[in-house]
């Protein structure tokens, strides 16, 4: 099983998914991220899916789960870089990703996290 690396940039954790995700990798990523947010005190998580060719219900649910977990650690999650074909497919599949914040690209995602992170007392 391949693991998705998690990079730390300041107070933000960057997850760039470059592999064809199998379910075990998805579950491992959720655990690794929870561990990493907890140990670093990061205030934000960016998940870059610009290289992801398909998002099915299992992978889609991962985004919602990661967002919920990060919230418990007082961190915000932004999913960035979704491909147009993936967006169209997700809507037709019936997956709404309710509650998951998205941004067009990494730059905008980082900007959103910067704004959300401002005013924090850390």
């Amino acid at each position: 099983m391949e693991r998705v690396p998690i990079l730390k940039i300041g107070g933000v954790l960057l997850v760039s998914i470059q592999i064809d995700l199998q379910d075990q990798s998805v579950l491992a990523l959720q655990e690794d991220l929870a561990e990493k947010i907890s140990s670093t005190g990061a205030h934000g998580v960016v998940i870059d899916i610009s290289a992801v060719e398909i998002v099915d219900s299992f992978i889609g649910r991962m985004f919602a789960t990661i967002a919920s977990i990060s919230r418990l650690f007082d961190a915000d999650t932004v999913v960035v870089g979704m491909r147009p074909a993936v967006a169209i497919t997700l809507v037709e599949l019936g997956l709404t990703l309710g509650g998951v914040r998205t941004a067009l690209d990494l730059e905008r995602g980082m900007k959103i996290l910067g704004q959300l992170g401002r005013g924090r007392t850390t």
């Binding site: 199998q22 075990q24 099915d56 219900s57 497919t89 019936g94």
Partner: protein, 137 residues
Amino acid sequence: MPPRSEGPEQVPISGDDDVVRVRQLVRAYAQQTKLSLVDQTKLVTAASELARNTLIYGGGGFARVEEVNDGRRAGVRASFHDEGPGIPDLTLALADGWSSGSGLGLGLSGARRLVDQFDLDTEVGRGTVVTVTKWKR
């Protein structure tokens, strides 16, 4: 994995990584048939849902992928075979939000919306075959 030009290709579904393999095979066929990028994505996503169903609910099985032609247009057909418990209530299984497992209940109903043709053949105690087809526009 370049698809052969003739005949269906068959891959076993017995583990997590096989779901990825099925996705890659279906994508190769969809590209070879020159489906649009959106249609490729829809078909591969449907295949991913169905392959996972075969694995989790059917206890494993196999997928068969082939290029088809109805005389007017080309398409890609993928079928998912298991010898699992079968589906006792089809109406329920195809309803949005219904799930017998830990899923979101979007697998079957969602996959059905993503393809042009959807056939489900199931018998309690014998197994399930789901066949989907996406035609080139």
